[in-house]
């Protein structure tokens, strides 16, 4: 139970390991940007009925914040001036090219069903039936891309053991702590945002809305953890082809179906 705390404490006091001619400004900037983006992405995620900022373009805001990971992971990999780090950074860009478009189509499908980019409206539109019921493909694609954007579970090649830790290869001490925390936060923000998008937000019997939001977020996170334990690392080039040949057409068909339903009712 205390392992995460002990590990964090260990990283806090660990001595910094430096590489020759490292670009510290870009490397540290990348790790900090990843942390900041993971926090800011949750700005629009409601806890029950309450969100820090219920922006009129909340869905686009979330998308913009998680795209920061593209720049951040590459910067962390680049900053160390290490071949393995750079390899991990480039791997993440390739992974981004695979997961981003299906991810965007999944977000658009949920916004389309609600007819609004405001997260509160998306939640309100699910008062009778949750979006996960009639947009199952978008939901599954969303969960896949959350794992991919946090380079986690089957999508961990950017920090893969086969490249000695990839983008994180040369990180030590506080830098590694910031990077790891940011990655976990990104995964959690993504899981939390699935709740208002597809799982009816805080809707549910007996318990208060904020508790339902938490329960559902933990449930989504549990699914993601289960997937990590069940499925081995997926090679980048394989997922690239799956994303472009299978997932993009599937999400487009899903969006078309939702659009027809929205127009017909």
């Amino acid at each position: 139970m205390t392992l995460p705390l002990r590990e964090a404490g260990g990283l806090l006091v660990q001595q910094h390991r430096r590489t020759l001619a490292a670009d510290v400004l870009l490397g540290r900037g990348g790790a900090l940007a990843l942390l900041l983006a993971a926090v800011l992405a949750s700005l629009v995620t409601p806890l029950g009925h309450w969100a820090v900022a219920d922006l009129s373009i909340g869905v686009v805001w979330f998308n913009a914040m998680e795209v920061v990971a593209w720049a951040a992971v590459w910067l962390v990999g680049w900053g160390a001036n290490s071949a393995y780090g750079l390899l991990g950074g480039y791997r993440f860009i390739a992974q981004g090219l695979a997961y981003e478009l299906p991810h965007m189509f999944a977000l658009i499908t949920a916004a389309l069903g609600a007819g609004s980019l405001r997260v509160a409206d998306v939640v309100a539109a699910q008062s009778s039936v949750w979006f996960v019921v009639w947009m199952p493909i978008a939901f599954v694609v969303y969960l896949l891309s959350v794992m991919a954007m946090a380079f986690w579970g089957p999508f961990d090649q950017p920090v893969g053991a086969d490249a000695a830790g990839g983008a994180a290869a040369e990180l030590s001490g506080v830098d590694r702590l910031v990077f790891t925390a940011a990655r976990w936060l990104l995964l959690t923000s993504g899981a939390a945002f699935a709740v208002p998008l597809f799982l009816g937000g805080g809707a549910g019997p007996v318990l208060p809305a904020w508790l339902w939001s938490l329960v559902k977020t933990v449930a989504v996170l549990a699914v993601l953890v289960w997937v990590k334990r069940r499925i081995p690392t997926l090679r980048l080039e394989r997922y690239q082809e799956i994303a472009w040949v299978v997932l993009i057409p599937l999400t487009l068909v899903q969006a078309l179906g939702v659009a027809v339903v929205v127009l017909a009712r």
Partner: protein
Amino acid sequence: MWTPVVFWVCAAGSVATGVAVFRVNSMARATFALLASFLFAAGTILLLNLAYLGVLVVLMMIMEMVVMVVFMLMYMMNPAGLMPMTMVHNQKGSLAIAGGVFAALAAGILLVPWPTSDQPRPVDPTRALGEALMGSKMLVMMVLGLCLFATMVATVVLAHHRGRYDRYGDALRAKRPDDPVRGGLDR
């Protein structure tokens, strides 16, 4: 009160990071200085209550600059700043061009009789702007979008040196495609 402050921070930040693009000594830093400049510019769009456009600029510019940094490092000299380099060439000529363009744009800002309106601000400025820009020309815009997309697909197809005959044989009868990259769906 805070609007002018934010505007000047964004304006000065945008120019300063724009200058930094040409002063730093590594391609990676130049790219991300340019990204910072664009993000400051997005801040001024957000000040106009064009939230959708502003956040979209942030989103697109990050993706664009990350793709660009790959090409900058591939093609340009001295990617990591380990050797002396300069981003400035043909200094006199470019100074004249830059000065001329700046003077023309500044004169345009000051001399054009900008229309004024006593109507209240629209509830959704993004929608109003979109309708003003494209409302009567939607057909043209749709056709243009299709043409651009077709051009992109055609360019990729033409640029790729391997076609379906390379993958599936001259009679297109091969059961499994012969690809140089492993992985994928049907093999």
